[in-house]
Amino acid sequence: MSNPTMDLLVTALLDGDQAQAITATRNLCDAGVGHAQIILDGVETAMVQLDAKCTVEAFNLLEIMLAGRAVMGVMKELYPPGTRSPQTKGTVVLASLEGDIHDLGKNVLKMILIAKGYRVVDCGKDCPVEKLIDVSGQEGPLAIGVSGLLTSVIPQVRRLREKMTERRLGNISIMAGGATLKQASAESLNVDFVAETAFDGVSHLEYIAGGGNE
C-alpha cells in the first residue's frame, strides 16, 4: 500500500530538496517505519527513477548532485556518524588519478553508489596509482573506479591492470569514466568498463555484483 510520506520522500529526493527529504525521513521514523524500509522504498525507489530519467541525453550533473546531496542527508539522519551503517552490497574504491584534480564526476558517482547501497572508499583526487592499489589491497573491493578529465592520466590508467595483477589484485574490476576517459574504449584503456555516465558505471557494478543487469 502506498505511504504518502514515503512518496513525499521520493519526490523530495528526485527534486534534490534536502530539507524536505530529511523532514520526510524523520516523519517516517516517528511513524515507526524501519530504516531498511526507508532505504528500500524511499532512497532506492528514487534512485531507480533518477536512473531512468538520466538517459545520456538528459543527464546533467547539477540535478544528480542535488539528489545525491539529499540522499546523503537522509543517510546521515538514519545513520549518524558513529552508528552502525547498513549492510552494503560491497565496496568500491574511487580515485581521480595523479595530476588530475578534477573530481566532480567521481564525487557524483560516490553519492550514487552510497545511495545504491555500496560502501565507498574515496582515495580523493591527484591520487598516485600506488596509493590506489594499496587501498584496494586493504579493502578488497568489487571494483575500482578511476576518473579523468585530462588526457595526461591515460598512461596511468593503461598501466593499472598490470600493476594490479603484479599485486595479485587482477580479479578486481576496473571502471573508468570522466570527460576524457569516456572518449576511449575499454580495450584501449585496458580496463573492464568505460562509463558514459555515473549511472552507467553503477549498472556495470550491479552486473558484476550479481545484483542487477547490464
Partner: protein, 335 residues
C-alpha cells in the same frame, strides 16, 4: 583569400576558396617546440613564438593567445599550482570562506597576474601575422569563471541554495570577462573565443542555462562586437544540442560543437550560424593520420552544400597529440 577572408566568408555563408581549418592548438604548440607547458602558460613572448612555429608547421587559419582556464581566477585572487608539464590547477579559490562578492575587485588586465603576459602574446601574434591569419584571444564564459572562482561543486550548490548571491557572482564574473576580452581586442586580437565548459548541458540543465548564462553571454558578446571583434565565437563542450538554438540570440557568429553532437542536428539547430567542429580530441592522440583524414573528409561532405563551416577539433587538441594527425586534418581542406 587569406585566412581572415576565408573565415569571414564561412561566417557569412559565402563561398571561400577552401573550407577554413582551425586546429585548437594551445599547449600542443609548446610540446612541438620542446617547451615545458608550465613555462608556456606564464610567458607571453614564449607562447607567441611557439604559436608562430606551430602555424609555420601546420599552415592552418588561426593562432591562439590562450594559456589555460585559470588566468582570470588567478587574477581575481585564486592561488594556483604550476607544474612543469601540465596546465596549472587552482590550489585555493578566490571566493571562499566568508568572502563576499563585494570584497572582490575586477582585475586590471594590464597589471594583474598573467593577464599582461597574455596581452603581450596577443600583440606579438598580431604583429607577426597582421590581418592574414586569425589571432584568437580567450576568455572564460561567466559560468565557467564562477565555477573557477569557487570550485564547481560549491558554485553549483550556491546557485541553488543562494540564487541571489550566485547571480551577484555571475555579474562579477561577467565584468571580469568583458574587461579582459575588451583588452585583448584592443591589444590586437581579432576576437576572443569564449570558452565555457561549465555551461555544458552535461553540467547544468537547459533552464539554468537560460536563466543564469544566456543573458550574460549576450552582454559580453555585445561588448566584444562593439570593441571591434570580427566575429563572436562560443565554445561549450559536450552534448550542446539542446542549447545550440539559443546561440544566435546570444550574438554568436561561430558555434563550436563537440564530437558527441551529430553534425546534422547542429545544422538543423542553427541553420544560419557558422559551425566549427568536431573531431574527437582524443583521436589526435590515438588515431592514425588516415583515420583523421577520413573523418575530416566526412565532415567536409556534411557541410559541402550548406557552407558556414570551419573544420576543427571538437575541443582542445591535447598537448601530446601526434603532429601527423593535426597535419592530416589541415591537409583534408586542401584536397
Amino acid at each position: 583569400m587569406n585566412s581572415i577572408e576565408r573565415i569571414k566568408a564561412a561566417v557569412n555563408f559565402e563561398i571561400p576558396d577552401r573550407v577554413p581549418v582551425i586546429a585548437q592548438v594551445f599547449g600542443h604548440a609548446a610540446t612541438l617546440a620542446g617547451i615545458a607547458l608550465g613555462e608556456y602558460v606564464q610567458d607571453g613572448d614564449l607562447l607567441a613564438r611557439c604559436q608562430i612555429q606551430a602555424l609555420e608547421r601546420y599552415d592552418y587559419d588561426a593562432v591562439f593567445a590562450l594559456m589555460d582556464v585559470n588566468v582570470e581566477t588567478e587574477a581575481v585572487g585564486s592561488n594556483l599550482i604550476y607544474r612543469a608539464n601540465q596546465y596549472p590547477d587552482v590550489k585555493s579559490y578566490a571566493f571562499s570562506g566568508d568572502a563576499t562578492v563585494e570584497s572582490l575587485s575586477v582585475p586590471d588586465p594590464h597589471e594583474t597576474a598573467r593577464m599582461p603576459e597574455l596581452l603581450k602574446a596577443v600583440r606579438l601574434l598580431r604583429q607577426a601575422v597582421g590581418d592574414d591569419v586569425l589571432v584568437v584571444g580567450c576568455v572564460l564564459g561567466p559560468m565557467t569563471l564562477a565555477t573557477q572562482l569557487l570550485g564547481i561543486e560549491t558554485a553549483l550548490y550556491l546557485a541553488i541554495d543562494e540564487p541571489e548571491q550566485f547571480a551577484d557572482l555571475m555579474n562579477f564574473a561577467t565584468e571580469v570577462v568583458i574587461r579582459f576580452g575588451v583588452a585583448q581586442i584592443e591589444a590586437g586580437a581579432h576576437l576572443p573565443i569564449v570558452f565555457d565548459p561549465s555551461s555544458s548541458p552535461a553540467v547544468i540543465p537547459r533552464q539554468f542555462y537560460r536563466e543564469f548564462v544566456l543573458p550574460r553571454l549576450k552582454r559580453l558578446f555585445a561588448a566584444f562586437k562593439q570593441t571591434g571583434a570580427i566575429a563572436n565565437w562560443l565554445h561549450i563542450a559536450g552534448p550542446t544540442e539542446s542549447i545550440l538554438s539559443s546561440y544566435p540570440q546570444a550574438g554568436v557568429d561561430i558555434a563550436n560543437f563537440d564530437y558527441s553532437v551529430n553534425p546534422l542536428e547542429a545544422q538543423q539547430a542553427i541553420p544560419q550560424t557558422c559551425l566549427n567542429g568536431n573531431i574527437k580530441s582524443l583521436s589526435f592522440i590515438e588515431k592514425t593520420p588516415e583515420a583523421i583524414a577520413e573523418e575530416s573528409s566526412g565532415l567536409l561532405d556534411w557541410f559541402a552544400d550548406r557552407g558556414g563551416f570551419i573544420l576543427s577539433s571538437g575541443c582542445e587538441i591535447p598537448p601530446e597529440s601526434k603532429p601527423e594527425n593535426v597535419a592530416a586534418m589541415v591537409l583534408a581542406t586542401r584536397k
